[in-house]
Structures are given as structure tokens and as C-alpha cells.
């Protein structure tokens, strides 16, 4: 059995609860009177406290206890969730996170936060209330009182409804037998006549002589759950009583010997006996037929849970994905083999396996998909904090939070998005005065949205601020040596300068974004995820940054093509259509080649030229029309082989400088095929063409 570290489970769970708490607090700021949100926050705190204490995070639970106490006043309606309270509570939430990492984390800060919390709920006065010391456990803590007697006389009668409510007197008797030899007598005088008998009620008084030198507390504990409502007397056993017990024993021979209880001795109320009956001791508790008022066969309840979720370590999912990837490759080989051998039985099996592999692949990929909302949630806090810090009121509008994306992609997106949001708030959004004079509402809007677009997910970060300042970007780019003075750039290219290393438009270095790490980190991360960045900006209206990302990094569907001796895979998501390279192509005045696609002129590139392939071209070259960013481009190939499922293998560091390929894959016959990075390929191709044309023009001149 694999052991799970409960503390680790707690950490994960705590992270979720802290997230819930934070969201609730932020919601509360919008709707301070929403009882449901207050309840949600309180419950999160409560569970954190309880579980924290449970798994030894006492610093956490002690701190939360105070936090909870303060917050309880909000729950009871004695305090309002105003800004100061939310601020203090958010600080407290951060401190809880810190304490989970390190129980000794900054106790000074902890005290200060709690004081602020108290002040917030008490309208300024600091309460001198001492923390309520919790008794960690209530059971089985023996007092230092020495055992005064070597035997006890216990007499008890359970409340009438005890049986219904799940108290089983036999278990109580068993518990006493565990303490020492017992003489148990059932006194059945109070049992009514059969016609008046309520079979579910308990009418028997038990008389027990316990021959054990235990402390009274230990016996008290036996009755812990029932002693408040029952008749119970616990007295030291006197010598005389002990003798009478022996007499009772004599009346019931074999009583003292060990053995299973006889059925009547279980003294089911339904079978009342007229006289007292001795129950032999000690009994073998497990073997004793327990009185069951309700016939409840102890059959195993169904273990499967509805809507059950399971936490699985991420590495295991990665491992699973790797195995599935290998399976996909092996399956491709099998299919190819079956085709070559033309054995119909083998082909059938191969097709079956192909079907299974494909569904396994989809399922596995599904397990890695996480709604992006998990990430967006974090940014609410970021926006809230930045808004407070900079004095810019901001409405944060997340959209498309249900959009699912590969877990690894989501994890890697966190940092770039933080940068983009910071940048937008720091530099994009104006101060309230500035907005007012520009005729805009004082509250700025920060929109974060996600949506599926084919095999990609588009994530946009947009603000309604002042927009990018083209002149300043140019000046800064020239200053940083990123472009030559006066260099011709499209506005698109100019806007993209902000993602270049060493670029920062902030003329004043703010505490928030002027920290040396800039937007180039964004670009690098997105490139690494095989994604792309677009910037759209309108002066005075705002800026929208769009990140386009593949749904998953592990497997894509590809179109396999042949160019010269090599085969390449084009991500199917980028492919729009395939056409013959024929007379429908035309050239414009500058010698550029175009494909006339139902009236649209689409430029095209020859992959043979691009990859420096020599030799004869095939007679039936094809054009694969792909979408690259916002444009369509045709790629001329020698042959289209067909669709394939492609397990992406990253290229090694030795080839990381080559942008035209996003990775490689292993084909059915075991050879390696490169995967085209359409966007980069097209821009490389255009540059080469440009260069070639310039050279030709130069020669001509």
C-alpha cells in the first residue's frame, strides 16, 4: 500500500481552502452583506483550523483560531466587512500561508495582523481578550489520583432511547471487561410485560463488579458519551458486596469461565427474563452476538463515490502521458506493419488498437486539462493589491474561466500573466484624475479572458488605459540599441519591441514592475510553450495583449508531408486546406508568387527552397495552406502523406536556436520527422525571400 503523507495532503487542501478564503474575502468587499460569502469564508477558516491542528500544524491552527474569533463577529453580524477588515483579513490569509510553510514565520507580523483584525471588528478598540486555550483532547487523560480501590461496583441504566441512538450496552460491558474481570448482572425488573414492551427501548439496569485496580476516571471514560443522560453509580467495591457477587456466581455455574456469551445473556430487551441473570466474564467481545435492533447486514457499502475527485501527483500524470506517447508510437508502427503485410486479421487488430490508443490518448489528455479559472482567481488578489497600492480603482473582469488547458501550460502561464497584468495596471491604466479628464470612468477595467480557437487557446489581457506610446517605444528601443535610429517598422513590430530583453517603457521605475525582470520573460515563456503574442493598442483607448497557446504540449495531430528525402509534420490545427500547385498561381509586379484561392491572393513559400533541398521536384507538388497568425500562407511540398498523431519530442539544447521547428516526432517506421513551427517558418521564409529579392534587384541594377 502506498503511504500518502497526510501532512502533504493537508498542504494541498490548505492551498485550496486559502484560495476559497481569498476569493470569499474579495467577493465580500463587493458585497459586504452577503451572508453566504461570510459563511463560506468562515467555513474555510474553520476547516483550516481543524485540519491544521489534526496534522500538527499547531502554529497555523492557533493563528486561525484568533482569526476565526475575530471573523466570527462578522458572522454574527456584530461587525461589518469593511475595507479595513478585508485588508487585515487578506494579510491574515497571507500569514496563514506563511505559517504553513514555516511555523515560526514572523510572529511579530502575526501579532500585528491579529491586532489589526481585532481593531477592525471592534471598531478601533483593541481587545485584551486572551486566546481561548483549547483542550486538545478530552478523553483518556488520567488524573494523578491514585487508585484507591482494587475493585469497583458499577450500576447503570441507559436512557430509554440509547439503543436507537446507537449506544450499545454490550460494548460498554466489553469495555469494562477489557479493564479487568467483571461480574455482570442484568436487572430486568423494569422490563414491562410483553404486550406493553417498546422493543427499541432499553429497560435493563446493569450491575457490574469490576475486579480491577483502575482509577475511577478510566471507568468514567467508559460512559463518556452517555453519562450526562443516564443513571450511573460508580463505587469502590466493599468486601461484603464482593462476597455476594461470588454467591451470584455460584448460582450460575460456569459463569467465571471464559467463553462466548450465550444468546439470552445478551439480554435483548425483546426477550425479557423475570429474574436477574448473570453474564459470564470475561467474554470474547468479537464473538459475542451483538444485539441488533435493526437488521443491518454489515455488507460492504459501495465504495465508488459519485463525482468523486482524486488527487494525483502531477508527475504521475506526466509519466502516464509519456507512456501513452510511447504507445502511440508503437501503435503507429503496428499499423504500418499490418499495412505492409496485408494480413487482414492483423489489420483488424491494428485498427482496434489504433481506436483504443486514440481514446486512451484523449482520456489521458483530459486528465491533464485544468480550467484556467484556477489561475485567474489568483489575479483577482493581484489586481486588488495593485489597485490599493497605486490608488487606481480597477474593475477586474475575468472571462472564460471554464476554458480548459493542459496543466503544465497553465502552470507556466502564471508568471507571464502576472507581468502582463502588472504592466497594464502600472503603465496602461491612468490615475483617476487622468481618466476623468480623458472623459473615461474613473474606475479602470482590467479584462482577462480565455477562449478556445481551434487547437489553440487565446488568452487576452486588456486594459482600457492610455494605450502604448509609439514614440516613446521607438525612442526607448533606439536608446537600448534594439533598432537602428529611424529604422522602418510596422506598428505591429514596434509594439512587439516591449517584449525585447532590456526594454522597459517606465520612465519612472515603480516598485511594482521596475524590478529588472521585464516583458521579455513573457515572450520567452510563451515561445517555450510554442505560443505566440500579439499586441493591439489604440491611443487613449487601451491595449490588448493576446497570447495564443497550443492546448497541450504533449501530442498534436499533424499532417505528414514529404519534401525531398525528408518528411515533416505540420500541426493540423494550423492547416486550412490542401490544393494542387497548378496554373492558379500568379506573380505580382514585384515577382512575388501568389496562389489565387477563390479570389483571395495567398502568398506561398517553397519548402524545398526554404530547406535548401536540391534535386528534381516531383511532378505533382501540393500547397498546404496554413494560417500563420493573422495571415494565410501556402507551403509548397512534394507530397502529402496523410494525417498522423504526433507525440512531440522537444529538440535538445543543441537545436534550441532553430526556430523553424517546434519539435520532432518519431514516425511509424522509426525515423524522426521534424514538426514545423508554422509562424516562425513563415517569418523566416519571408525574410529569406525578401533577401533573395533584394539581391536580385541589386544584381539587376
Amino acid at each position: 500500500m502506498s503511504m500518502i503523507d497526510p501532512a502533504e495532503v493537508f498542504r494541498q487542501e490548505a492551498a485550496d481552502l486559502i484560495e476559497t478564503l481569498e476569493q470569499a474575502l474579495l467577493d465580500l468587499q463587493q458585497r459586504p452583506d452577503d451572508r453566504e460569502i461570510v459563511g463560506l469564508a468562515f467555513r474555510a477558516l474553520h476547516t483550516l483550523k481543524g485540519s491544521g491542528a489534526m496534522f500538527g500544524f499547531t502554529a497555523v491552527s492557533d493563528f486561525i483560531h484568533e482569526f476565526e474569533t475575530a471573523f466570527d463577529r462578522v458572522r454574527k453580524g456584530e461587525a461589518t466587512a469593511d475595507r479595513s477588515l478585508i485588508a487585515a483579513a487578506l494579510d491574515a490569509r497571507d500569514h496563514v500561508s506563511a505559517l504553513i510553510e514555516d511555523p515560526d514565520a514572523d510572529p511579530e507580523r502575526g501579532h500585528a495582523i491579529l491586532a489589526a483584525l481585532k481593531a477592525a471588528v471592534e471598531g478601533g478598540e483593541i481587545a485584551g481578550e486572551a486566546p481561548v486555550a483549547e483542550t486538545p483532547l478530552e478523553m483518556g487523560e488520567p488524573l494523578a489520583e491514585p487508585a484507591a480501590t482494587s475493585a469497583w461496583h458499577i450500576r447503570f441504566k441507559l436512557p430509554a432511547d440509547a439503543l436507537t441512538l446507537g449506544t450499545n450496552p454490550l460494548l460498554l460491558l466489553d469495555e469494562m471487561r477489557d479493564l479487568g474481570p467483571c461480574e455482570v448482572t442484568a436487572i430486568t425488573e423494569a422490563v414491562p410485560a410483553l404486550d406493553r414492551l417498546e422493543p427499541e427501548e432499553c429497560h435493563i439496569t446493569w450491575d457490574v463488579q469490576l475486579m480491577a485496580a483502575v482509577e475511577r476516571d478510566v471507568i468514567d471514560d467508559v460512559f463518556l458519551f452517555v453519562r450526562d443522560d443516564m443513571v450511573l453509580s460508580i463505587e469502590p467495591l466493599t468486601a461484603g458486596e464482593a462476597i455476594s457477587a461470588h454467591k451470584a456466581e455460584a448460582e450460575a455455574p460456569a459463569a467465571a469461565s471464559a467463553g462466548p456469551d450465550k444468546a439470552p445473556a445478551s439480554a435483548a430487551p425483546a426477550a425479557p427474563e423475570a429474574t436477574a441473570q448473570t453474564v459470564p466474564a470475561p467474554a470474547a467481545p468479537a464473538a459475542s452476538p451483538v444485539v441488533k435492533l435493526v437488521e443491518a447486514p454489515a455488507k460492504a457499502a459501495p465504495r465508488t463515490e459519485r463525482n468523486a475527485t482524486l488527487r494525483v501527483p502531477a508527475e504521475r500524470l506526466d509519466e502516464l502521458m509519456d507512456r501513452v506517447g510511447e504507445l502511440v508510437i508503437a501503435q503507429a508502427r503496428l499499423s504500418q506493419l499490418a499495412e505492409t503485410l496485408k494480413d487482414s486479421a492483423l489489420v483488424n487488430v491494428a485498427e482496434e488498437i489504433e481506436r483504443l490508443t486514440s481514446s486512451l490518448r484523449d482520456t489521458t489528455m483530459g486528465t491533464r486539462m485544468v480550467p484556467i479559472g484556477t489561475l485567474f482567481g489568483r489575479f483577482r488578489r493581484l489586481v486588488h493589491d495593485l489597485s490599493e497600492e497605486l490608488g487606481k480603482p480597477i474593475a477586474f473582469v475575468p472571462e472564460g474561466e471554464d476554458t480548459e488547458l493542459d496543466k503544465t501550460v497553465i502552470e507556466q502561464l502564471a508568471d507571464p500573466l502576472v507581468h502582463l497584468i502588472r504592466n497594464a495596471i502600472d503603465h496602461g491604466l491612468e490615475r483617476p484624475e487622468g481618466r476623468a479628464s480623458a472623459g473615461k470612468p474613473e474606475t479602470g477595467t482590467m479584462r482577462l479572458s480565455a477562449q478556445h480557437r481551434g487547437a489553440e487557446v487565446a488568452i487576452t489581457v486588456s486594459d482600457d488605459g492610455r494605450g502604448l506610446d509609439a514614440a516613446r517605444i521607438r525612442a526607448r528601443a533606439e536608446e537600448a540599441g534594439l533598432i537602428a535610429p529611424g529604422q522602418q517598422l510596422s506598428s505591429d513590430e514596434l509594439n512587439r519591441m516591449i517584449f525585447e530583453p532590456g526594454f522597459s517603457t517606465a520612465s519612472e521605475v515603480t516598485a511594482l514592475s521596475g524590478r529588472g525582470v521585464g516583458m521579455d520573460v513573457v515572450k520567452r515563456t510563451i515561445d517555450g510553450l510554442r505560443g505566440s503574442i500579439d499586441v493591439e493598442t489604440q491611443a487613449g483607448k487601451g491595449t490588448t495583449v493576446t497570447l495564443r497557446l497550443p492546448l497541450t504540449l504533449a501530442i498534436i495531430d499533424g499532417l505528414l508531408v514529404q519534401v525531398g528525402d525528408s518528411r515533416y509534420t505540420i500541426p493540423l490545427g494550423a492547416v486550412e486546406e490542401c490544393v494542387e500547385l497548378d496554373a492558379r498561381t500568379e506573380a505580382d509586379a514585384r515577382g512575388r508568387s501568389f496562389l489565387n484561392l477563390r479570389g483571395d491572393l495567398v502568398p506561398y513559400l517553397s519548402l524545398r527552397d526554404l530547406f535548401d533541398v536540391t534535386g528534381e521536384t516531383g511532378p505533382h507538388q501540393k500547397i498546404v495552406v496554413v494560417s500563420a497568425g493573422s495571415m494565410r500562407v501556402g507551403l509548397v511540398v512534394d507530397q502529402i502523406i496523410g494525417n498522423n498523431q504526433t507525440v512531440i519530442k522537444q529538440l535538445s539544447r543543441l537545436h534550441s536556436g532553430i526556430k523553424t521547428f517546434s519539435g520532432a516526432t518519431i514516425l511509424g517506421d522509426g525515423t524522426v520527422a521534424l514538426i514545423l513551427d508554422v509562424l516562425n517558418l513563415v517569418s523566416t521564409g519571408q525574410k529569406r525571400e525578401e533577401r533573395g529579392r533584394m539581391e536580385r534587384l541589386g544584381r539587376a541594377a
Partner: protein, 122 residues
Amino acid sequence: MSKTILVVDDSASVRQMVGMTLKQAGYSVVEASDGREALDKATSSPVDAVITDLNMPVMDGLTFIREYRATPSSNGVPIVFLTTESDAGIKAQAKEAGATGWMVKPFKTDQLLSVVRKVAGA
């Protein structure tokens, strides 16, 4: 046949810890993360004992105990509730609702087992 214990807690870590402890001690364990789910499970398939948290979303523990006790399937089934509260009020309320016993969080695994054995037997 092993006894089936229904463990009700919105905290997955508590459920896991309690569940693992009980399973290792030979019990069968059914889990529920709130009172509503617990009620569904306890009434659709009999259990031998219930361990429930009180503070839970959807349906809290007290309501669950009350509604469960209102069904015949709860007859004779011990219910132990978990509480972090040290005051007697919550205990009185829970007992009123029909709880059999309680445990104060935090507890250790041997304490858990002793309580379960106490109310449900081995």
C-alpha cells in the same frame, strides 16, 4: 464481515486520515464530503457507524444527524461527531440531534480507534 463506517468531513485530508486509520484497523470505509452526500449514502446502503464533522457546506453536520435520525435506517447506528469547539453547547446540540458520541479535533489515530471501538465495536 468488516463493519462499515461512514466518514463525513468536507476536509479531504481529515477524511483520508480517518479513512486510512479505519481501513488499517479492518473497517470498511465510505466517505462523504457534506451532510447531503452523507445522508444519501447512509440511507441507501446501511452503515454500522457514522463519524461526521459538524461544520460543512451544503448540509451541516447537525442537520445531517437530525435528518438521518428521522429515517429508520439510522436505528441503532452510532454517530460520532467531530468538533473543534470546546464549549458544551455544541455537544448538547449534537446530542439533542441524535449523536451518540464525539471527538475533539485534533485527535490521534489511536484515540480515533478507541472511540470507534467504543461505539461500534471492533
